[in-house]
C-alpha cells in the first residue's frame, strides 16, 4: 500500500517525532516516530514503512508496514504487511498477516456481534 494522498488522512511524515498522546477523529498515517498513546476509536491508523510507533493503539482498523511496539486494540481489523515488525498483544475481530511479517505477542480474536470467532487470513 502506497502512502495515501495528503488530505485523505492526517499525515505524520518520516522526519517527525511525536512524544505524548495522539487522538483524533480522522484517519491517520504515521511514517515518522510516535511514542506514547494513539487513540482514534472510529478511524484507522496506518503505520508506513518508515514508521516507528512505540505506543498502545486504539482504533477501528490498524494497518502496519513499519514497526510497532505496543498493544493494539482494533475494533474491526488488523493488517500486518510483509515488512511489519510488531511487538505487543493484538485484540481485534479480524487479522490478516502477509508472508514475512513478524509478530511477537498474543492474538485475541473478539467475536463479531452475531458471528463466530476466529478470523485470520494470510
Amino acid at each position: 500500500m502506497d502512502a495515501p494522498q495528503t488530505g485523505e488522512f492526517a499525515h505524520i511524515g518520516k522526519s517527525v517525532v511525536i512524544k505524548g498522546e495522539l487522538s483524533g477523529s480522522e484517519d491517520l498515517y504515521v511514517d515518522g516516530n510516535v511514542e506514547g498513546k494513539i487513540e482514534l476509536r472510529n478511524h484507522s491508523l496506518t503505520v508506513g514503512p518508515n514508521g516507528n510507533v512505540k505506543a498502545d493503539v486504539i482504533a477501528k482498523a490498524v494497518v502496519i508496514q513499519g514497526k510497532l511496539d505496543g498493544a493494539v486494540n482494533a475494533s474491526e481489523r488488523v493488517e500486518l504487511r510483509k515488512s511489519a515488525v510488531v511487538t505487543g498483544d493484538v485484540i481485534t475481530q479480524r487479522i490478516a498477516i502477509e508472508e514475512g511479517a513478524f509478530l511477537k505477542g498474543k492474538v485475541e480474536i473478539q467475536k463479531e456481534a452475531g458471528k463466530a470467532t476466529g478470523s485470520a487470513t494470510s
Binding site: 500486518l80 487479522i95 490478516a96 498477516i97 511479517a101 513478524f102 509478530l103 511477537k104 505477542g105 498474543k106 492474538v107 485475541e108 480474536i109 463466530a116 470467532t117 476466529g118 478470523s119 485470520a120 487470513t121 494470510s122
Partner: protein, 229 residues
Amino acid sequence: MASVSDNVMKFFRSSSNTAGPAVPQKLTRRSSGMGEISRLLNSEEALCVLDMGATSANNIRFFTGKGHKNYSEDLLRSSLDPALRIQDGEGNTVVDSKKFLDENLVYPNAHFDVVLCWNLPDYMEESLVKPTIDRLWSVMKPGGFLLAFFHTRDAGPDSTCYRYHVTGGDVLEMQEVKFAPPGRPASEKQSPRLQRVFNNRHIENLFRDFASIKFFLARDAIREVLVVR
C-alpha cells in the same frame, strides 16, 4: 487437416504459453505429535498456546477459532538479532544468552498449556538451546505439552528449514523458511543451516526436567518429540 498428435502438441504448447508464474508446491506431512495435541485442543477450552514458529495467520486462525489463546514468538528470527552478538574473553563472537532471555520468552511461570517448538532446537545457536528449554519448562503449566521436531542422522546440513502451518487434525503444511543473514539485504535470503543433529540421549537430557517424553519416528528423517511438563 491436422493430425491428432499435432492437436495434442498444440494443446500442450498453448497450455505452457498461458501458464502463470510458478506457484510454490505446498508440502504436507502427517504428524503424530500434532495429532495428540489436536485431540487436547478439541477436548479442552481456553488453552494458552505458544507458537514458536514464523508468524502464521493459519495457525492463529486455527487456535483462536477453537477458542484458545494464541501467542506468537518467532525465536529463530529473534535469535539472529545482530545486537545479541558479543565477544567472549578469547575474542570469539558468541550469542549473549542472558540478553536473549531478557528479551524473549518473558511470560509468567506456569502460563502455557501447549508449546509448539517445531524444529527450533535444530536450527538455533547451540548456546541458546538449553537455556531456552529451561525457560520453557518455567513458563509451561505442569501437565502441559511441548512438541518439537529433530532431524535424524540421515539429514544433511543443507536440509531445508521449514515452518509449519496447522491445517487441522494431524496434517501440517510445510513452507520453506528463508532469512537474510544479519546485516545483509532481503535479496540475499537463504534457508537457515541445520546446526547439529541431536541423538536420543541428547534429547532426553535436554528435557530431563520434564515429566515424560515420547518419540515418534517419521519417514522424512525427522523424529517428533512430545514432552509433558
